[in-house]
Symmetry: C2
Subunit: 362 residues, 2 copies
C-alpha cells in the first residue's frame, strides 16, 4: 500500500521506517525544505527494538505525497497539526483515511472542518499516543525503544471505526483499541497532568540543564499538584460520559507501576524506567504543547459543562505569563475547534460526526 | 531600661542578648512552657559579629514580663503575632512602646485594635525587617551574622514617630529610617516576591532536602515570575502613595548586587553571599508565612484599589491548593485587619492613626 507520512520528527521517521521495512511504499513530506533535503537519499536507519534500513521516497509537494495513498499519517507535535492539515486538505479524497498520530485536544476536528469546506469527508482516525516510543538520532535515523502493545483510536465519523481499525491492524498488527468517539481519545491524555506541574516545580533544573529524572522530580508536593490537575480532568471525563482512567491507573496499566498513591507510583516508575531525563530547557513541549493544546482544551470543555477548574486555570494563567504567550488564545478552545456554544451532548455528537455531511446522507 | 521580649526564636534571642549585653534589664517570655524551661538558666550566648554571654530573666507570665517595661518587643514569625498580642494586650499601658520586630502585612493593626477595645493607645512601632541577621544554634545560643546598617520603622500613631525613633536609637544606635506611615513599611516587604515563586519552582529540591542555594535556583524563567509578582506589588505601592523600591533595587541597595536585570542580579547575589541554602522542607515559612501574611495582604490592598493582580492571585490559589490550606481566609485581608470597605486614602489614614482615639483627643 502507498502510505503518506507528513512530518519528519521522531514519530514520522519511526512510522516511515516500520512501514517501509514491512513492504509498503512510503512517501514522506515535511513543510521544511531543509528537512526534505536532509532526507533526500531516502534511506532510513533504525536501531533499538527494531533495526535495519529501509527506503522511502521524499516527496517534493504535499499533493504528490498524499495522492493515491491508502493511509495518510500526520505525525507532528500539536503545534504542527494545523499547517500540515492546511497543506493536505485540498488534496485528500473521501476514499482516504488520515491518521492523526497522535492527536492532541481534538485537533482532528480542525481537519474535519477544512474538509467539510470542500464537501469531502475522508475517514479521520485519532490515535491517543504514538505507537512507537522513539528518539530521532540524526535526520534519517531513529532509535525505537518500544512498540506499544495497545493504543486507543477513534474514527470521525465514528461509524467508520471498524473499517479504520481493520486498515490499521493490516498495517501494524493488533495494537489498537477502538473507542466510541474521538472525544474519549483526546480526553484520555495524561501528558499535561504529569508534564506541566512537574516542569514548573523543577524549572530551575531544566534551565540549568541538570541531568534530572522527571519521575524523581515528582516529589509528594509536586504529586499533589499532579493529582489536583488530574482530578479536574477526570471531572470533565465523567461529565462527557467518556472512559475514566486516572493518572495513577494510567501508570499502573502502561508501566506496571505499583503503589497506593501518586508519590509511591512515581517512585515505582523511577525504579522501573531508569529514565528519560527531564526537560533541559525552558522552551519545552511539556509546556508549549501541553498547556495550549491539552490543558486549555480540558478547561474549555469544563467551562461548557459548568465545571469549576481553578487549578487548571491557575496553571494556564501562570504559564502564559511565564512564557509571555497567551496560551488560552492560541490553544484548543471550543471556539477554535468549531464547538463554541454547544452543549456537552452536542460536543460529543460533533466529535463523532465531525463537520462532514451527516452519515445518513453519505 | 527594662525591656520585655516576647518570643524565643532567632530574632528574640539576638535582641535579648544585645540589649542585656549593653546593660539593660531584659525579661523574656514565650507562650510555650518548653521554651521557657529551656531558657530558665537565663544565660544567653552569642557568637559571630557579636559574641559573649549575657543574663536575662525568663518571665513566668506575659503580665510580669511587660510590667514597667520601657520597650516591649514582639519578635516572632507572622503567624505568632496574634497570640502574642492577645497575651500582652491586657497589660500594656498608654505610656509603653511596642516594637513589632519585624512586622508583616500590617500585623501591628491587630494589636492596635485589641488596645482600642481597652481604650488604651500605646505607641506601636513597625520594623520592616529584623535588625539582626541571625540563626539560633541551641535554645539559649545564637550566631549573629550581621547587624543591619539601616532598617525602616514607622509608628502608630504616626505623630509619635520621632519619639519612637529616639527610643530605639538610644537602645540600638542610629540604625533606623523613620517612614511616614506603617503601610509603607509593610508594603516594602520583598520577601514573598523572592520566596514564593523560587520555592515553587524548586519544590522538588526542597522536598528532597538537596543542598541548594536559593539565589542559584532563581534562573531566568524563575526570575521572570519574581518580576511579575514584584510588578504587581509595585502597582499597589504606587497607588497607596508609598515609597517604590523594586526587588531589583532592594538587592542592589541591601546586598550591593549588580546587574541590569533580575537574572544578572541574582547571579551577583549568589556570588556575593555564598548562601544561605534554600528551604529543605515542604512546610516552610517561605510559603506558610509569606503567602497568607504578605501576598494576601498585597492582593487585598490591590482589590480595594481596583488593581488587577492575576499573578499574585494565581500564586495564592495554587499554593492554597498545594498546602491544603485556605491562605486567603487565614491571611491578612483588609477585613481581617479591620480595614474592610475603606478607600485607599482611608486605609493610609488608618495605618497612621491606628484604632486608638484620634490624636487630637489624646
Amino acid at each position: 500500500m502507498k502510505v503518506a507520512i507528513l512530518g519528519a520528527g521522531n514519530v514520522a521517521l519511526a512510522t516511515a521506517y516500520y512501514l517501509a521495512s514491512t513492504g509498503h511504499s512510503v512517501q514522506l513530506w515535511s513543510p521544511f525544505p531543509e528537512e526534505r533535503a536532509a532526507l533526500s537519499g531516502g534511506l532510513l536507519t533504525a536501531e533499538g527494538v527494531l533495526s535495519g534500513t529501509a527506503d522511502i521516497v521524499v516527496a517534493a509537494q504535499a499533493e504528490s505525497c498524499v495522492a493515491d495513498a491508502g493511509l495518510i499519517v500526520i505525525a507532528a507535535p500539536a503545534f504542527g497539526h494545523e499547517p500540515l492539515m492546511a497543506a493536505i486538505a485540498p488534496h485528500v479524497t473521501a476514499a482516504q483515511t488520515v491518521l492523526i498520530h497522535p492527536v492532541t485536544g481534538l485537533s482532528s476536528l480542525l481537519l474535519s472542518r477544512l474538509m467539510a469546506e470542500r464537501g469531502v469527508a475522508p475517514t479521520i482516525v485519532d490515535a491517543s499516543t504514538s505507537l512507537f516510543t522513539t528518539r530521532r538520532i540524526t535526520a534519517n535515523s531513529v532509535r525505537i525503544l518500544k512498540v506499544k502493545d495497545v493504543i486507543e483510536i477513534a474514527a470521525i465519523p465514528a461509524a467508520r471505526g471498524p473499517q479504520a481499525l481493520a486498515l490499521l491492524e493490516g498495517l501494524f498488527g493488533k495494537r489498537f483499541r477502538l473507542e466510541p468517539n474521538a472525544l474519549t481519545v483526546s480526553l484520555n491524555n495524561h501528558n499535561p497532568v504529569y508534564h506541566v506541574p512537574p516542569l514548573l516545580c523543577n524549572l530551575s533544573r531544566a534551565e540549568l540543564q541538570e541531568d534530572w529524572m522527571i519521575w524523581k522530580g515528582i516529589t509528594p508536593g509536586v504529586a499533589r499538584l499532579v493529582k489536583l490537575v488530574d482530578d479536574e480532568r477526570l471531572a470533565v471525563v465523567r461529565r462527557y460520559g467518556t472512559k475514566e482512567v486516572s493518572v495513577a491507573d494510567y501508570f499502573r496499566q502502561a508501566h506496571g507501576a505499583i503503589g497506593a498513591d501518586l508519590p509511591a507510583i512515581f517512585l515505582s516508575v523511577a525504579e522501573k524506567l531508569k529514565g528519560p531525563i527531564g526537560p533541559q530547557s525552558f522552551e519545552h513541549r511539556f509546556m508549549t504543547e501541553d498547556v495550549p493544546y491539552a490543558l486549555v482544551f480540558f478547561l474549555s470543555l469544563g467551562e461548557a459543562a459548568g465545571i469549576d477548574m481553578p487549578i487548571t486555570r491557575n496553571f494556564i494563567e501562570l504559564t502564559s505569563a511565564l512564557y509571555e504567550r497567551d496560551f488560552m488564545a492560541e490553544g484548543h478552545t471550543l471556539d477554535r475547534l468549531g464547538l463554541g456554544g454547544l452543549t456537552p451532548d452536542a460536543i460529543v455528537a460533533r466529535s463523532m460526526s465531525g463537520f462532514s455531511a451527516p452519515l445518513a446522507a453519505e
